[in-house]
Symmetry: C2
Subunit: 273 residues, 2 copies
């Protein structure tokens, strides 16, 4: 297996340094010479879209994705419309910032019927696609780990994400492969192959043993059991050569000075990804 | 969908009343007029196999399964042999107690290579099958939730469990369907259909929102989001009419007097399963 020799594809997913504001994160990336960043909408909202755009443009850093749209299943038509409107705003933000990809965390079912939830996700994407396409923004369906099926997304395997994406054109909808969410899947490598031409993003972190927490338990690359390099190479074999985001929800990392996090991240990226 | 009208198939998986010894659990079942119980080996070990057998035989209660064999992947041939020896003891216990099914929790990979872990599981089962068959004990592969892939089992979807079981004869190896572990699967109903003739057990509990804990966060039926009746009917459609075990890891339930747990369990079983 071949090692990465530079950080030219490395992207800081901003949630990894949740302790930082958008401006601090961008400045941190500049200091660390990271070429990419993924922005979260609540961080954009803190200072406004215009100021966020100014900061990004002045930095020369490229945006790998905007997190996140989605949350399509809702219990009433009114709430579904509100969710769709919010997704349109997310598309607007991505377009304004020059981000090619809006990551979709599709949302849990509105009730107990998970099949119905999946149907609402498909309908939501259907409604959003023309709006996003006009603005040059691709929608990246990120299948989440099945342990989030009841609270964050009914799309919990790469296979179903690919099947859903394939109902649209490749320039409209694709998938985001996050190792933390998909590493357990016995059919992972077949599904990555199926995703050929549809992969819009690749996220890395690690699965720590024992897992300290369902949400905040992700680890730095190399601290867990995920075969990062094997998965990265499978993703590249499909033709994906885009940015590789480090996305880690972990209180300990959030309590660490951001510059230290970025330094460790770079080191572990070259060593383990 | 049709409601269950009696508790003739209801089984107490002993872990649900972990506060009770084997004897207390059996006495509790007698008081509650539960016809079935699933025994855990560490509870059998506390009083010995002979005494356990005596208690069970005197009670007239039937055993739905013994929990558990498995943990096949190990880092050295010696450790794999030890695991196999322990599985043989588990088979012996099941045979001695007159239990038809030994539940397999297959074990995590010995290192990072999850495919290698799955191979070791298959080899382990291969070695165990003749021994179990001679003693009239069937091996029930229980796919666990993917969140346990790193710590408890590399077999984390019903699909792969069925594929694995099909490498053996139906009287040798089957699968155990536990709603908590499989409810999230977009392909669940197809996989249940594929499992026709191989289902050796059906376990119920619920998925609570928000989920309080990865291990101890299971809920009583009706307290969560799982479509219990829909899954139960799909399982029955394959021809499975055997016991339905209630298996709940939950500290709050473990802190509740066992008789109360059994009363609630019966009520919820009729109402929700």
């Amino acid at each position: 297996m071949s090692q990465l020799t530079s950080i030219e594809r490395l992207s800081l997913n901003q949630i990894t340094t949740n302790q930082w504001s958008l401006q601090e994160a961008v400045e941190g990336c500049v200091r660390a010479e990271l070429p990419w960043i993924a922005l979260w909408r609540h961080k954009i909202a803190e200072i406004g879209l215009k100021e966020s755009k100014r900061i990004i443009q002045n930095s020369g850093i490229q945006i790998s994705s905007i997190c996140r749209g989605g949350m399509f299943p809702q219990s009433t038509p009114k709430l579904r419309q509100e969710a769709l409107d919010d997704n349109k705003r997310a598309v607007d933000e991505a377009a304004e910032l020059g981000a090619e990809v809006l990551v979709l965390v599709c949302g849990p079912a509105a009730g107990k019927d998970i099949a119905e939830g999946r149907k609402m996700v498909e309908e939501g994407i259907q409604h959003l696609v023309p709006y996003a396409e006009e603005r040059g923004v691709k929608l990246g369906i990120e299948p989440l780990h099945p342990m989030y099926a009841a609270e964050r997304s009914v799309i919990v395997s790469l296979g179903e994400a690919v099947t859903l994406a394939q109902k649209f054109q490749p320039n409209q909808v694709g998938v985001v492969v996050d190792v933390f969410h998909v590493w357990w899947d016995h059919d992972l490598y077949n599904q990555i192959e199926r995703a050929k031409g549809r992969i819009l993003g690749f996220h890395v972190s690690d699965w720590i043993v024992p897992t300290p927490d369902m949400l905040m338990g992700r680890g730095m690359m190399g601290d867990g059991v995920i075969e990062l390099r094997r998965i990265r190479e499978a993703v590249e074999k499909t033709g994906y050569k885009g940015p590789i985001e480090v996305e880690i929800f972990n209180q300990e990392i959030w309590d660490t000075p951001g510059d230290e996090v970025l330094a460790l991240m770079k080191e572990r990226y070259l060593e383990h990804v």
